[in-house]
């Protein structure tokens, strides 16, 4: 039985796993204590639950529990990592390296630091969405204190060469932070194997609740110090003050544990569903363009441009399916996706793009429904598209004189 709208937008957020919710519930009611209360059972219970969750999360990424700092989510984790390191190591240098396709939580934090006098290099990406390691190497100077490159992109799902970047950072003695939000719990991620110094994660992309995240901060080889950006009672070893969100943390821990135990099988299933969707679309539609590398990609991600069809109209046509588009018409700024623009394929493909994010609760039946629906809506919209007609008449769109408006 299909339930509508079908949810294929798991990069935006994922539903909470019922097992996660069940683990959380007692911490709203009978076990409501403040984890910082040292003098009674309520506090002890809460603290114990937090420490268990810290371990569950650490185990998922090969860290030690003490290296997990809880935050309100990955936006805060990115801010803490980048600003915290920039301020702490300002004496050493004032240069940060990132990439143009990073999440806004990284880009805008870097822009803020530029206003404060830091220098930032925004590396371009290749056509497949990956950074060029030679360019990264060349960008490192004596003054570089931090490299921040995401593990998996939230729009096109591409996996950056994190192990290679980690090795370069280690060799050059530069700190390496990665926004691992979309990758952790979906693909293997081990902070030691990857030589990562800091990693941002968030519960709501891995079937946990919203509003709880963490920053992994390395304690050995080297020990990373951060200037806190939120001051107060000195929680989380002084790196992030504020009463801990105990139910959220419990849910985050449970979500991490489930991912650790089920990731191997789940990723195979996700990839099979994704490939099925891709195959069904390609069998029946021409002029589809996949955005980003298909070889280095999250198993549940597909980002396709349906040439000559505008994304928002496509979303309107498939209104019983929840997905998102990189089209300008769907964004408040009326600008197409900066990630797709960075691939250099031309803005028209960004306008025609749809991001599919498959997740734990999606089924083959849903994939088949969505594929059929897309085929019929894309075909209908192409019949309505002046561009498709022109191309079929042999017009070269790139040679046309367009009237800008």
């Amino acid at each position: 039985m299909l339930k509508f709208p079908i949810y294929f937008d798991n990069h935006a957020t994922s539903p909470v796993d019922p097992r996660v919710l069940e683990a959380m519930l007692p911490y709203f009611t009978e076990r409501f204590g403040n984890a910082a209360s040292r003098n009674h059972k309520y506090g002890w219970e809460a603290e114990e639950a937090v420490e268990q969750a810290r371990k569950q999360i650490a185990d998922l990424i090969g860290a030690s529990p003490k290296e997990i700092v809880f935050t309100s989510g990955a936006t805060e984790s990115d801010n803490l990592a980048i600003r915290g390191a920039a301020y702490m190591y300002r004496e050493k240098g004032d240069h940060i390296i990132t990439a143009v396709t990073e999440h806004k939580a990284v880009i805008d934090t870097c822009k803020r630091l530029e206003k404060e006098g830091f220098r930032v290099t925004y590396l371009p990406v290749k056509k497949d969405g990956l950074v060029d390691l030679g360019q990264l190497r060349a960008a490192i100077t004596e003054k570089t204190v931090l490299i921040t490159i995401m593990t998996a992109n939230n729009e096109i799902g591409v996996l950056q060469p994190i192990a290679e970047i980690g090795a370069i950072a280690k060799e050059k003695g530069v700190l390496f932070h990665t926004d691992a939000v979309q990758a952790v719990g979906k693909v293997p991620f081990d902070v030691n194997a990857l030589n990562v110094h800091m990693a941002s994660i968030t519960a709501h992309k891995m079937y946990g609740p919203k509003g709880i995240g963490a920053l992994y901060v390395r304690r050995r080889n080297p020990r990373v110090l951060l200037t806190p950006i939120i001051e107060g009672g000195g929680h989380e070893r002084g790196m992030r003050s504020g009463t801990l969100n105990v139910p959220g943390i419990v849910g985050f821990g449970k979500a991490a544990e489930i991912c650790r135990l089920e990731m191997a099988a789940e990723s195979v299933r996700m990839q099979a569903l994704r490939d099925r969707l891709n195959r069904k679309l390609h069998e029946r539609l021409d002029e589809l363009y996949i955005n980003g590398s298909m070889d280095h990609r999250l198993p549940g991600n597909l980002n396709i441009s349906f040439a000559y069809v505008e994304g928002e109209s496509l979303l309107m046509g498939i209104n019983d399916v929840a997905v998102s588009s990189g089209s300008a018409c769907t964004s408040a700024s009326l600008e197409p996706s900066y990630v797709l623009k960075a691939l250099g394929a031309g803005d028209e493909l960004a306008h025609s793009s749809i991001r599919f994010g498959l997740g734990r609760f999606n089924t083959e039946e849903e994939v088949d429904y969505v594929a059929d629906k897309l085929v019929s809506v894309v075909s209908k919209l192409r019949e309505m598209s002046p561009l498709y007609e022109m191309v079929k008449d042999g017009v070269d769109l790139s040679k046309m004189q367009w009237s800008a408006h």
Binding site: Y308, V309, E310, G311, E312, S313, M316, G317, S327, A328, C329, T330, A332, L334, P336, G346, D347, E348, H351, E383, M384, S385, P386, L387, Y388, E389, L397, W402, S403, A404, H405
Partner: protein
């Protein structure tokens, strides 16, 4: 974003989708917008040269639902109007009829531009023919 009922209706049942023969001297074609901006509208009118009345109007649009609805509505309004009456159609009329929100006003502007371009093309052909 929620769409008005009228936008949804035009989107689901677009009126007058299609093309008229471009070379026909009684047909005026307007092509406005640009693919890199995410919107291109082609609007065509077929005018009865005797009466100056628009007999037929067709469109094809690459753009959001509101752009498709704006051009669909425009073709509906154009039929039966004289060329001069057609030029009096304003984008604000389209905004009002379709209850377009502020971010979608430019989609209606595109439709007005397409009407003007189609009529201008028709007039150019008529002058060239005389």
């Amino acid at each position: 974003m929620a769409y008005s009922e009228k936008v949804v209706d035009h989107f689901n049942n677009p009126r007058n989708v299609g093309s008229l023969p471009k070379q026909d001297p009684t047909v005026g074609t307007g092509l406005v917008g640009a693919p890199e901006c995410g919107d291109v509208m082609k609007l065509q009118v077929k005018v009865n040269p005797e009466t100056g009345v628009i007999d037929e109007a067709k469109f094809k649009t690459f753009g959001c639902g509101s752009a498709i609805a704006s051009s669909s509505l425009a073709t509906e309004w154009l039929k039966g109007k004289t060329v001069d009456q057609a030029l009096a159609i304003k984008n604000t009329d389209i905004v009002a009829e379709l209850a377009l929100p502020p971010v979608k006003i430019h989609c209606s502007v595109l439709a007005e531009d397409a009407i003007k371009a189609a009529i201008a093309d028709y007039k150019k052909k008529q002058q060239a023919g005389q």
